[in-house]
Structure formats: C-alpha cells, structure tokens
C-alpha cells in the first residue's frame, strides 16, 4: 500500500560536502529507504547486520549512505525486510547500481564538483523535474552558444579547453530529454531570465527560439512569470524539485549556490518548496500564453 509513507523521520537539511566518491545523494536516499523498511519490519540493526555477514555498524554506514552498496547485500536486506513487490525491489536495486557505478558523467570528473555530481545522478533518474529559474534559461534547454556564454560568466574566459568541456557536459545532459521514457519537465521561468541578453542579441534570440520549440514537446511544460505579476512567491531564488517514479522515494529539492549545493528530502522542507512552486506556477502565464509571450520577447529583442 504505497499511500502509507512514513513521513517525518528523515534527517533534515544536509549540505553535500563529503569528499569525492560516487553519487552521494543516491546512496543517502537508498540508505534512508532501507532504514525505513527495516524499522517497519521491526528488525534490529544487529539482525540486519548478521543477514549480510556484517555488523550493526555496517548497517549504520549503509543507512547513512556513507558506503557503496553491494547489490547482493541490498537484495538480501530487502528479502529480510519482507519486500516482495517486484517494482520496488527492482527500482531499489537499480538505485544501488546507479549509486555504485560511475554515471555517464564520470568522464567529466575533472570538471565536476563533488556537490554537483549527485544532481546529475538525480536528474538522470527523475520522472518529473520542476524548476524555477530567475537568472538563466535552465541547462536542459540551453543552446551551445548560450551555455558557453553562461560558462564564461561563471568561470572566466581564460581556460578555453575547460570551458568547452563544461559546454559539452551540458549538451550531454540534455540527452535525458530525448530518451524513450523522458522525464516530465515543468519549468517556471522569470521574465528576467528571458530579457537578459546573455551572449549578445544573436545568441539570445537563438536561445529563445530553441526554448519556444521545446514548448511543443509533449513532456515539456514551460510557464513564464511576467514582470507585471511581481512579488511572486520565490523570494529565495531558483530551485529544482526532482521526483522519482518509485512511490516510496521522496521528492528531492535541489538548491545551487556558487560553491556548494543543498539537497533537501525532509518532507517538511519539500512540502514548503512544493507550495512555493505551486504558487509560482499559478502566478505564471499558462503554457499557451507563454508561447505567445516568448514570441513577443523574440520580436522585441
């Protein structure tokens, strides 16, 4: 019965500042999940440790996402916890695999920061991505030229090779939208992000046209918050909410800063961001009005 979810026992805010070593958040999520299932089954850490030929401290490390997972351990634990639902087992084992195996982004490890890498894992795994963006067009819809301009803004123009690597990573990320089962993408964009001519008028015009084309995709919903609907609900700035198909995996809120990021999966935090996201979406133009609005902005540019 998927509607019954233990809700208020997850650890709270946590900045991901651990040393390099795999998609941290995936581990944390899976660890959380394993702990909830163990507790729901009334099984002690000692008993669980014994099952996987380890100790209670090994269970503790696993449940806190501090170590990688052996698939066999996860499978044995799920069995011990009475998890027979094939879909849930499969999605948890997939997560365990993703948490261990290097993602497609591994070859970009030289330019990836520890705090951003988990986001790529989550974005790749999400079934729904909701985003509010104040400053820039979201990375999933950036053109190469626009991405280059944004990257130069962020990292300075000096290291050309590195800039190109970053642009290429961003283009690679967009493949998630072309897959057989792409995530539903629901983005709310502040008008400011569309008016600021990043990279110059030509680049910006091409970027806006690209965004306009994206609005026609069936799994893409884009809404612009116009200036005249000022005072919108996101005083805190840009944020992303990622949702996963498995019913028992909680939504994750992603907040990016200049040198770090925050991943929130505490239900109270997520609820709050979800409320703000809903308000923003209610204040924003509808998707239909947004396409008209985009055309106007392109005209005026």
């Amino acid at each position: 019965m998927s509607a019954v979810q233990p809700s208020d026992e997850l650890p709270g805010k946590r900045a991901v500042d651990e040393p390099r070593g795999g998609p941290t958040v995936l581990r944390i999520m899976l660890g959380n999940q394993l702990r909830r299932l163990r507790e729901a089954g009334g099984i002690t850490p000692d008993e669980a440790g014994y099952e996987i030929r380890g100790s209670r401290s090994k269970i503790s490390r696993i449940e806190h996402g501090r170590v990688g997972f052996k698939e066999r351990d996860v499978a044995d634990l799920l069995t011990l916890y009475g998890v027979t639902d094939e879909q849930l087992r499969a999605s948890m084992l997939t997560l365990a695999r993703q948490a261990n195996t290097p993602g497609w982004w591994a070859k970009y490890s030289d330019i990836l920061s520890d705090w951003f890498e988990p986001y790529l894992g989550l974005e790749t795994a999400a079934s729904l991505i909701r985003n509010f963006e104040l400053q820039f067009v979201h990375g999933l819809f950036q053109t190469e030229d626009y991405a280059r301009a944004v990257t130069v803004l962020g990292y300075g123009p000096s290291a050309t090779d590195e800039i190109e690597r970053r642009v290429s990573l961003r283009m690679r990320r967009q493949k998630v939208l072309d897959g057989a089962d792409p995530p539903r993408v629901w983005f709310v964009i502040d008008e400011a992000a569309l008016r600021r001519p990043i990279g110059g008028r030509q680049v910006m015009r091409a970027q806006l046209k690209h965004l306009l084309e994206a609005t026609a995709l069936p799994h893409v919903t884009i809404q612009v918050v116009p200036f005249r609907r000022g005072g919108h609900a996101a005083a805190g700035g840009s944020f992303t909410i990622l949702r996963f198909a498995a019913p028992d995996l909680p939504d994750v809120v992603y907040l990016e800063h200049l040198t770090s990021a925050l991943y929130l999966d505490d239900r109270r935090d997520v609820d709050h961001y979800m409320e703000v996201m809903n308000r923003l979406s209610a204040e924003a133009h509808t998707p239909v009005a947004t396409t008209r609005f985009l055309k106007e902005i392109i005209q005026e540019l």
């Binding site: 019965m1 509607a3 919903t221 609820d271 409320e275 809903n278 308000r279 209610a282």
Partner: protein, 282 residues
C-alpha cells in the same frame, strides 16, 4: 463555440479569474479532498494535513486505497465507452482532481480525436496543475473552470465557451456529490446540469456508499469530517439511483464501480465501496 475536429487557431487560455490570488488561496494547513485523494492514489502532490486525514481514513477503511483506484478505472472505462460506443464528443468533468494517469481528455481524445473536455474543480492546487498540464493536443479542446459544483450557472455559462450545448454532452460527476449534503439538495444540482444538455446526453456518477462496508465507511466519514475542508455524506444505492431518475440506465445499471463493465475478472473483484452508474437522457 466549438466545431468538432477543427483545431482552434488560438487555443483558449484558462487564466485565473480577475482578483484571483493564488498566494492567498492555496491553504495547505487543512486537508483538501483532491490532495487527500492524491495521497490515497500514491501520488506525491499532497501535504502534511492531507496525509494525516488520509491515514486516519485508511485506518478506518483500509480498502479506501483500492476504492480510489477502482474509481479512476471506472472513469477511464466510462469515458472510453462514451467516446467509442455512444459517439460522445463533449465531456463536462466536474471534480477533476490533481491530474494523474488516464485523465478524461487523454482517454476521450485517444478514443475519439476531436473530443472536447471541460474540467471543473475548486481546489487551487488542482487549478495550478490543470492550467499547466491539462492541455490537449491538436485533436481537441481542453479547458478548465475554477468553480464550485454548487455554482451550476457559472459552470454552464463558462463551459459553453468550449462545449456546444445543442449537441450531446457527457456530464461526469466522479466521487464529488458526497461533498453536497442533503440540505444543499444535490438532486437539484444534478437536475440543473441535466436540464442544460440535450437529448442523447449522458450522466455518469460514482458515489461513496453508505451501505457497503457500512461500519467502516461510517467511521471513515466521521474522521474525514473532522479533518477535511470539504465534508462528506455517503449515500445508499437507492439514494444514488435517484440521481438517474428520468434517464435510461446503461447496462449494468447502478453497481459497484469495479463491476461496471470491467475489463478483467480481477478488476471486477477488487475491493471498493462506491456506487457507479451511467444514464442517457431520452
């Protein structure tokens, strides 16, 4: 005005009504039916108060989680029947809920491209989702009205911008009439809707039962009425049948929703305590 099959060059936009202020109307501190329902369906668009009310209800009547799934499946089967076998191309779906799989317009427009669907709900979270996500492809029209079921005059006036009321319309009232208590005369509300549609139109209703799993359902109603913004009145089979007075009932008549033309035997046997039926206006 709508002409079937002709895409509107400028799709109508469901903008909030004048004076609408989402920031002040989205109240997540009290449980709301659409979000509680989402919780029962295993959705994630619900908040703490909704989950609390949802859990209280589950404790009283654990099969509620199957009931709501059976209700969604009933919606899909009735819409498919109407589009494929009854030739209906216009749907007025009141009590939309938070969009999930197999929304009315998706079922209708896949069975009969060119179908028009008007959704009506009064929950601001539903409004948010509906404005953004309940858009139809080029084969039909979909619009959304932010209104209360009790306001039939406004619903009919606004729906007339998308639906042609000189042609048959299917009125869908899925698990919503329980929020109208007897003092507010739900029969008059349904009567007002039916009076606006021509002969050949259909009425589809599902309604939580007072006479199935009666004790559990009564306990669930009591708990929901303490916690939810919208109160509930569950009804008996004869009370539900009364909504269809004067209409020709489509076989098999008023039955448990899972037994209305089920696709599989397993579906027919799933638990659930809602009465459902479909009637045709002669």
């Amino acid at each position: 005005m709508t002409s079937e099959g002709t895409p509107d060059p400028e799709p109508r936009d469901s903008t909030p009504p004048p004076g609408y202020d989402a920031a002040t109307t989205i109240d997540t501190s009290v449980a709301h039916v659409a979000r509680v329902y989402d919780y029962w369906l295993g959705g994630k668009d619900n908040f703490a108060a909704d989950r609390l009310a949802g859990d209280q209800a589950i404790q009283a009547y654990p099969d509620i989680v199957y009931s709501v799934r059976a209700n969604r499946a009933f919606l899909a089967r009735t819409v498919r029947y109407l589009a494929r076998e009854a030739g209906i191309r216009q749907f007025l779906d009141i009590g939309t809920g938070i969009p999930t799989a197999n929304n009315t317009h998706e079922v209708a427009q896949s069975a009969a491209p060119g179908s028009s669907v008007v959704y009506v709900d009064n929950d601001p979270v539903v409004l948010t989702h509906a404005r953004a996500l309940l858009v139809s492809g080029e084969q039909g029209h979909t619009s959304y009205i932010d209104a209360d079921l009790r306001d039939t005059g406004r619903i009919l006036a606004e729906a007339a911008r998308t639906l042609d009321f000189s042609r048959p319309v299917a009125i869908m009232l899925m698990a919503i009439l329980q929020h109208i208590d007897d003092a507010e005369d739900p029969y008059a509300i349904v009567g007002a809707l039916l009076a606006a549609v021509p002969s050949g139109s259909y009425l589809v209703i599902s309604h939580p039962a007072a006479d199935l799993a009666a004790q559990q359902m009564a306990q669930m109603a009591e708990r929901l009425n303490k916690l939810m913004a919208e109160k509930v009145t569950f009804r008996t089979e004869p009370q539900v049948a009364r909504f269809f007075e004067g209409l020709d009932l489509v076989e098999p008549g008023i039955v448990r929703v899972q037994q209305w033309r089920p696709d599989t035997e397993m579906e027919a046997k799933s638990p659930g305590a809602l009465w459902g039926g479909m009637g045709r206006k002669a």
